[in-house]
Symmetry: C2
Subunit: 709 residues, 2 copies
């Protein structure tokens, strides 16, 4: 990295703004200016194509122990540098990612005593801005407690906003779309089906926060590299449209315990006049994370998997041995799902159709008595129910090329899980497993701690490190929202951390727009284990009184494998449901999970999304197109295909009469010869979608298939 | 156990007291009567030799979740039984302990809805009363949260009281002696040298609480079998002299999380008109605990030990490698104590003088930066400093018949310790160690939890169980006060849990009366690792400016090996200090640590104490006599010796000019022939004491030694 010690601007003319430092993105489209007022107030503003995005916003910290407010600074020195390098993720949406940015470091010291040094770091990318605080090693500050971080994001107007309530414990809310001034996070009355939630302010929202200005600017605020620090919520001032950071507290009301040298996560502002650019800019968040710490990542396997899971959600079988614990918490007795025989059925299905993993939930003792109890010692992670033979299933799976995916529901009792972690991971290793899905359902123990507080953020990192040391990949459910840490810990292969497909099984569910918002919000931070692929959309087949359903068409479920990026993708429905639609199931069998390139072709948050992705190291492409509750037509240009080559496009689309509610399983499958000069017109039904596989055409296919139009 | 279903009394005549149930101790000296008033209030009272000890005191519970107050009951049935059996402790003050009591069980149900069942259990011993609540398995109560326990101890007057402030985190206070009405636990200003303390009420005191009535009754209130529940403090009503239970809360203000069937600890009331009986009655607390769960206790070794420990307290060497961490937290650099060479010196000394263990503190990395920081990841319990060779020292120790005693300072970061426990105990096993001293200095992590709350009480039990499973004995410092659990977990061989000898090294210290109070308070619950045996009383030999000193004579330090019962006893001073007084050191070499019988010969809390103990399975006796700041003479009758046998008594006493402050190291050693007809007169100096070993006389000794008087 090239470092220059230069003072960019110093405008002494203005009484209020003593010193201004301006840096631009490599493409000059984004301008960040930081200012130090005469009274010592530090602030920044951001412009995009000469339009204000973030107006003058102040920065600072309130420390406890020592009890110091850091909001009046004097300048020690500044430091700028440029950076331009590319790197290759272990897995991802792109085989290569370019990190090109300009960095400005303001070395500040506190006005008055004691003499505390703070560095505010700005990185300006073509996609947006990253801002962090650093507290270097220094004489007057060693251990310290953060009372509050006071970072503002002063917006230019009353933007349209895609938001979920600020909360210390959950991110599984439905999205709301309102103006900033209309945000009403309520009193926690929203999403009653979420058990552990901690509402704190009706004007607070979570990040990633997606907004659209009346002038047509798309703005996304989030954070990157959330380590050893609590997650950030944002509190809205509805008159000034200023968002202020609100960190998740610990059991005694403190925000973070730090020791110099310390760094906060990056606060990220992504901006564009094109919605498609926002999704593509999730690479900026990756660029703000540290490189991989996993030296030999060969054990990390992007994969599709099936599992004993949806059948509990729909009430066909139970997590517990006694047969009472199902998704809807109904009382009727159903068979235990995780039996040796049932698992072998899934292994057979997985093996036959090329899936590498079978997830089994409810395999271990404890499920009878824990939900909602805030009980500490529930699961031990090594004791199977008597009808589940771990050893035999590992053997049987191995003979069929399939691995069991372990399941560790912690019940939120993290103290208990931490006691068992080593034993549990050794148990996995001894039984040939190298992937675990973990869960944090319920209120956290240590009591008073929260899912999104510093203690838990440190826990998730410990799990990522420890699983990595056992050469295990981990997929965390009910964890904190992601912030690009999968760059640093690629064995942390996914998280849920938002409202997944499961809510469709036993709650009011996810409205058709839900999946058009998630890529602009939750997925900005990393892959989500959304568990798509439900073919049996209406759930009254399991129980005639069951009114719940999935709020998409079948074709849209296929499209989600592309629009909802993850290196692990579940084929979440039951084998018997797939067996009724093997033609449509072919897409799930074919679709890749690791990508060489990604093109966001069309997007509008809350409305629609079309993404094309190229399988890593292969000439095949896959396209997903989805819409909200509105039907619509969309043109897909194949200009990204290699010039002069012919491909077979298999289009899994909504049939003409499809409708997410009225006729969700009506789909059509068409094959054509396509090339880079063509543009496909897709008709998406209400709540519908389309999935397309594009493979090089064989000579025979060229003879037998028609060209598209 | 014989059970009779009888209603003892039912007095319907009285409007207020609808039903009364009375039980007596086997010797009829103690009478307990429980009453259920017409309005459903449950209460009890206790009389001793027809004198009221506890006046009508109500009982009850406030539950949260479900939100129910349990203080209005109706009777379902009662149940009484008698019990009389003896048992043999793995180690202790007696080879056999008789458990003789009468039990009354009141099966109650809540008046009104829901229909909650509670059982109040009373056990009446000759020594006193035990009271507990049970919540049996029942339909309307499963998981529940305790908001408060409302057990009263309504005393008959303004008793003289030996008390330390109620606190959630520490029991290392100096004792105060005042009337109940004069208790002023202050605002936590007392004992400033204690780092982690949580004061909550100026009228609150801890148990064991020792009292003396103006009528000459000695009353001790404590608890037995504290498991899965917070410790109890007592809040004094200074007008009615009613003490009310106050449980230590958790991080969110709840007291306990229980699941039926559940039992509270026993609340114990010990009463006698003889102070000596109180100390002997600590057996009642043992009788209220469950039998040993350790199937093969052969690994549990009562022992005397030396260690690299006092030299840090006096500032001669440091815990940390850099040389800054010493007892007084002084800044000057001193050598690191836990070096391989220094440890070998201690091993040589131990081996030469018959000690089985060498404790080494400061052997592992982390000591530089933790004290007072509330930092989570400090120690890993397996990484030695570079100058400490674990493997070599285990080998060297084994060659000399000495084991290293492991040290685990958790820094209060219990989450961290729990992550490491298995690894740490395996490390011990791999290096031939089977005893560990643990420490909980500092505020607890999980933050918001307290040393004496339910979460930590469960932790201490987990440690006792887990060390037991590794065949390791544990000696916990800064743990909750003991409640007789060493019967159930005999590998939990001792705790500190009070103000130990170490305070003399770097604080105002322990006044001369301190050791005359501890046996009536802290030691009622179990053995204390007080670390006696300091010969170099004045500490200015280490640093001329050091004003601190031990507040006893040298002879009293010897007496503490008897008066301060523990199956592990440190010879806490430095080898070079012992080498200057090998004649006095002979007593420490000779004294036993496991006893067949104990006789409390004379006692007055705060004034003096004389105890004789018989070595288990041997014909030798040892006597300890101590006084407070007053000098005094005491007669010791040898009537407990076998009739007609002659013994050699070696009396290690204060010399005529001895005085704890003016001349503490002045002692005399005299040998006489004694027998059961003789009475010894001992002169104890101010802050002084005497230690006596009594061994069968040899023919030669009978010839050469004189009879006593």
């Amino acid at each position: 990295m090239k470092r220059n010690l230069i003072l960019l601007f110093s405008l002494i003319s203005c009484e209020l703004y003593a010193q201004t430092f301006t840096v631009q993105s490599p493409d000059k489209m984004i301008t960040l200016s930081a200012r130090l007022a005469n009274n010592g107030t530090a602030s920044y503003e951001v412009a995009y194509k000469n339009k204000e995005v973030i107006e003058r916003s102040t920065m600072g910290f309130v420390l406890k122990d020592p009890n110091i407010t850091l909001n009046r600074f004097s300048l020690v020195t500044t430091d700028t540098s440029t950076y331009d390098k590319s790197w290759k993720p272990v897995w991802g949406e792109y085989s290569t990612i370019r990190d090109q940015h300009t960095e400005l470091r303001l070395h500040l010291k506190n006005k008055g005593e004691p003499d505390i040094q703070t560095i505010i770091v700005f990185r300006v990318f073509n996609e947006g801005v990253g801002i962090r605080y650093e507290f270097p090693d220094q004489e007057k500050l060693d251990h310290f407690v953060v009372g509050d971080e006071q970072t503002e994001f002063n917006l230019t107007g009353d933007h349209k906003t895609f938001w979920i309530p600020g909360d210390y414990d959950t991110n599984e809310y439905m999205y709301n779309t309102t103006r900033l001034s209309e945000v009403d996070a309520g009193s926690g009355a929203m999403s009653q089906e979420i058990h552990a939630k901690t509402f704190f302010n009706k004007n607070a929202v979570q990040t990633p926060l997606m907004m659209k200005s009346s002038g047509g600017l798309y703005i996304n605020i989030h954070e990157a590299a959330l380590l050893n620090y609590p997650a950030m919520n944002l509190v809205i001032d509805k008159t000034s449209f200023t968002l202020t950071s609100h960190l998740v507290p610990d059991a005694v009301g403190n925000k973070a315990y730090l020791q110099t040298p310390a760094k906060t996560p990056w606060r990220t502002i992504i901006v564009s006049d094109k919605a498609t650019d926002i999704i593509a800019a999730n690479r900026m968040i990756l660029n703000l994370n540290e490189p991989s710490t996993v030296k030999d990542p060969s054990f990390i396997t992007p994969q599709k998997y099936v599992g004993i899971w949806w059948e509990m959600h729909v009430g066909k079988s139970s997590w517990d041995y006694a047969g009472g614990q199902v998704g809807s918490q109904q009382q009727s007795r159903v068979p235990h799902g995780a039996t040796t025989a049932n698992t072998k059925k899934y292994i057979d299905f997985a093996s036959k159709h090329g899936f590498k993993g079978v997830l089994v939930e409810g395999w271990n003792t404890g499920w009878e008595d824990w939900f909602g109890k805030w009980k500490e010692d529930v699961f031990d992670f090594v004791t199977p129910y008597p009808d589940y033979n771990v050893k035999e299933l590992s053997r049987y799976g191995a003979s069929k090329g399939v691995k069991i995916i372990m399941h560790h529901e912690t019940s939120g009792a993290v103290t208990n899980y931490e006691r068992w972690m080593d034993t549990a991971y050794k148990f996995m290793r001894d039984h040939g497993m190298n992937a675990v899905k973990s869960g944090y359902v319920g209120r956290i123990i240590p009591r008073g701690e929260h899912h999104d507080g510093q203690w838990m953020v440190r826990h998730y990192e410990r799990v990522a490190k420890k699983t990595g040391s056992y050469r295990i990949s981990v997929n965390m459910h009910e964890s904190v929202r992601l912030t690009g840490l999968h760059r640093t810990y690629p064995n942390w292969i996914a998280s849920e951390a938002a409202r997944g497909n499961e809510f469709n099984a036993w709650s009011t569910g996810n409205p058709p727009e839900h999946e058009t918002i998630l890529p602009f919000t939750r997925l900005m931070g990393g892959p989500m284990d959304y568990t798509p692929g439900i073919f049996q959309i209406k759930l009254n087949v399991y129980d005639v009184i069951k009114k719940e359903q999935v709020h998409t068409t079948l074709a849209k479920q296929l499209a989600l494998y592309i629009t909802m990026y993850s290196p692990i993708q579940m084929a979440a429905d039951l084998p018997e449901n797939y067996e009724k639609h093997m033609d449509a199931f072919q897409f799930i069998k074919d679709v890749a999970v690791d990508w060489g390139d990604t093109k966001v072709l069309a997007a509008e948050p809350g409305d629609y999304l079309v993404i094309a992705r190229k399988a890593k190291g292969k000439p095949t492409w896959f396209i997903g197109a989805i819409t909200d509750e509105q039907k619509r037509n969309t043109d897909v240009s194949f200009s990204f295909l290699d010039k002069g080559k012919n491909y077979v496009a298999t289009i899994y689309g909504d049939a003409a009469d499809a409708h997410w509610e009225k006729n969700p399983q009506s789909y059509s499958i068409n094959k054509f010869i396509v090339n880079s000069t063509m543009t496909l017109n897709l008709a998406l039904a209400e709540g519908g979608g389309a999935a397309i596989s594009i493979m090089p055409a064989t000579a025979n296919e060229l003879k037998t298939l028609k060209n598209y139009r």
